[in-house]
Symmetry: C3
Subunit: 209 residues, 3 copies
Amino acid sequence: MATASLFHDLLHWLDYVGVAVFALSGALAAARKGLDPFGFMVIGVATGVGGGTLRDILLDLGPVFWVTSPNFLAVAVLSALFGWFIAQHLKSRLSLLVWADAVGLAIFAVLGAEKAYAAHSHWAVVAVMGMVSATFGGLVRDILCNELPLLLHKEIYALAALAGAVTYFVGVSVFDATVASLFAGAAVCFLIRAAAIRYNLALPAYKQK
Amino acid sequence: MATASLFHDLLHWLDYVGVAVFALSGALAAARKGLDPFGFMVIGVATGVGGGTLRDILLDLGPVFWVTSPNFLAVAVLSALFGWFIAQHLKSRLSLLVWADAVGLAIFAVLGAEKAYAAHSHWAVVAVMGMVSATFGGLVRDILCNELPLLLHKEIYALAALAGAVTYFVGVSVFDATVASLFAGAAVCFLIRAAAIRYNLALPAYKQK
Amino acid sequence: MATASLFHDLLHWLDYVGVAVFALSGALAAARKGLDPFGFMVIGVATGVGGGTLRDILLDLGPVFWVTSPNFLAVAVLSALFGWFIAQHLKSRLSLLVWADAVGLAIFAVLGAEKAYAAHSHWAVVAVMGMVSATFGGLVRDILCNELPLLLHKEIYALAALAGAVTYFVGVSVFDATVASLFAGAAVCFLIRAAAIRYNLALPAYKQK
């Protein structure tokens, strides 16, 4: 009982953090495009809630999460405005954008996997839903800003989210460790992505012979 | 009773007008791309019903509105064909496109807000849903036609839709004036957008110091 | 009873074939972009299941088909990996991409129409749903790969899907011939699209006078 409640509080807080960091990455993308404060908010909200929105639609979980919990909109708006104020003072907006995106990727990979798992989905669906939740917000951001999606950069990206989601699934279904699995999955995703950013890790690309 | 029925008739007619003007804006975008008549219809229908479709999906209101009321498809197709015939005779297709879009923006801002309000949503959700309904059709149009979305132009756009949706919410929840609030919200949105088009009104954009 | 069961088996197998050929077209698009094997899988899955996913969301048919039948994910992944291995050995990847897309278009046009018909939709909704199911996966592929969507090429494309869906509707509602209508609809769509590819058939495009 206490564990279940702790677990749900934790999910809730992680969700806020994930929305906030993705919204921040959206604001920094808006700064790169020279948009106005309202543009920061629009891109910030779309990036922050995009992944979870698609997840809720695909799983058909009723109205999407921010319709039932509008606090998430406030978090995204505040985070986007924070991005407006700090963007001026950054040496590299792109670098913070990429790292905020990496933190959001890790959080939404496990949260997406958790929602699919809680809906009794097949493990492959759990894995794909973790990946979709983690990558879709950033994809919307990059399409709106007309940038090459991080998803299509050569450094490992969606694969990290998949690894995090699978780690969560294994942890929770084999070891029945809900809280530990959340952290383990997020850590696996973040470390793979961080290594990919830091060392330009990439899978071997297709080459026409 | 009579008022409720008048109100629903009004919503219905506004919906047709909104779909028609957005479909027209889609057809004019298709003209700029030199598409064939069927391309006009595809872009016209996608633009005309896009915003309301996303609204119905996010609120989880069952099958989207044009599945249950296919008349809207006919309206969009006829409007797109009308666009095909008049495009030749226009001095400025872009100008009519932008003004048709402004009318659609105003109508869908209040209709989106109304649907969210009728579903007992929080005021922030009412506001965001007005904005999403009003801007998404045009966004689909601009992405399909590979134009810079009006949403990202520097003139005020999504903010006008937000103002219209908030006006509707205040009118209906504080003053309990359903019909008057619809017109007031649409007028606020249209006037802000019209001023933005006419005088190039823009919020101060982000500038790297 | 036997016919109904045959019919449902057929639908199921056609669905697998449609997902597989669209996933293959996605993999070939990934090859043209020089992505890594995981990128092949991401684009392959998005292309393979994209159209059916939007169809299920618009009709509000509960969780989308691959959430309830994750086998489709496996088919898409395997087909994308198959694309990775054969892409090297092709003289023209673009040509196979376009033909795989044509086969998928024909299959999803009738399957999309069938799902809408089974949900008791109006004939116009049946027609549009066939077109949406048939074209959306390829549209996602082309937007992700930043190519001009086949949908907007001048050769006949979405119109072929519409013709296939209408053929299916007429066959099933007028002649009550479920299996024959599936094949007739798919054949009509494929033949129109094949003629369009082979002979560059196009409707007369809009020209500014």
